[in-house]
């Protein structure tokens, strides 16, 4: 039993794409241990792995193995009465790489990186920046509103509204400045 050229091409393309994921997972057991020992992040290791795969025959072998496995499975399905296209679709669905362990490893790493990056002094500094800018903005805004509204005499009649608006605008400006300082700290930390 042979396959049409079109299906063969599709099979090769599928095997080429998917075998890389399987190969990554097979390699990861060792690399995960390495990562824990050296404290390296997975992205760095993945980059190294990509270089390794690029210059080795491992990737091609994994691709060929998947291609042959797929063709055996498809022949089996066709003997059971499925058309070539149906067999290809079924095999594609069954052999498509999916790994919960990889997803959970990603999540684990993101958490680990998040906690590694946490520094109490940094959070305290960000909080102080917010509070400082807020007080500064409210004070300046209220003062401008108070003076612009006509001073004490006007404040006691209807001028208080200018002071309130000034304080509100000052608070918004203060929060904005706090956000900018937060962003600057985060970017410096990277």
């Amino acid at each position: 039993m042979t396959f049409s050229q079109e299906i063969k091409d599709k099979m090769v393309q599928f095997a080429k794409e998917q075998s890389q994921y399987y190969l990554d997972e097979a390699e990861m057991t060792y690399l995960e241990k390495l990562r824990w020992k050296t404290g390296q992040t997975r992205s760095k290791i993945a980059a190294k792995l990509a270089k390794f795969k690029g210059r080795s025959e491992t990737a091609l072998e994994a691709q060929n193995d998947l291609l042959l496995y797929m063709s055996d499975y498809m022949k089996d399905l066709m003997e059971k009465g499925l058309s070539e296209e149906e067999a290809f679709e079924r095999a594609k669905e069954e052999l498509e790489y999916r790994s919960e362990s990889e997803r959970s490893a990603d999540l684990h790493e993101r958490f680990a990186r998040y906690y590694e990056m946490r520094d109490p002094a940094e959070y305290e500094a960000i909080g102080l920046f917010y509070a400082g800018f807020l007080f500064f903005g409210v004070s300046i805004g209220a003062l401008i509103g108070y003076l612009g509204g006509g001073g004490r005499e006007m404040f006691l009649t209807d001028g208080w509204i200018d002071t309130a608006i000034g304080a509100a605008v000052g608070a918004v400006i203060g929060l904005g400045a706090g956000l900018i300082s937060n962003a600057v700290i985060v970017l410096k930390k990277k």
Partner: protein, 104 residues
């Protein structure tokens, strides 16, 4: 999979078929391929490449010494575990019998 390979030279899809015939029908096709890669990476199998009609050579697997040791270790662990579970099951029943006997 180690047990199946230990019974004689075989290849990927044949292993999957044997597993299905033995009752592991829910086993996903991708699992066998992924495990084969891992067996190869862990150097538990000896590989012989033979020509295939699809073009690339087909890999035939045989257990090497390390693979045989791993298989023996697995069965030892399995025997120990199943023995413990059986004891647990039996002791639970005995206790139940004793309790119902005492009540009677």
């Amino acid at each position: 999979m180690l047990e199946i390979i230990s019974r004689g030279e075989t290849y990927g899809y044949e292993i999957a078929k044997k597993l299905h015939q033995m009752g592991f029908e829910g086993l996903a096709e991708q699992t066998v391929y992924a495990l084969l890669l891992r067996l190869e990476k862990n150097r538990l199998v000896h590989i012989t490449k033979k020509p295939s009609e699809m073009g690339p050579p087909r890999k035939f697997y045989r257990l090497n010494e390390r693979g045989l040791e791993e298989l023996a270790a697995f069965w030892a662990r399995w025997d120990y575990l199943s023995g413990c579970i059986q004891n647990l099951r039996n002791s639970g029943r005995d206790d139940g019998d004793l309790q119902s006997g005492n009540q009677g």
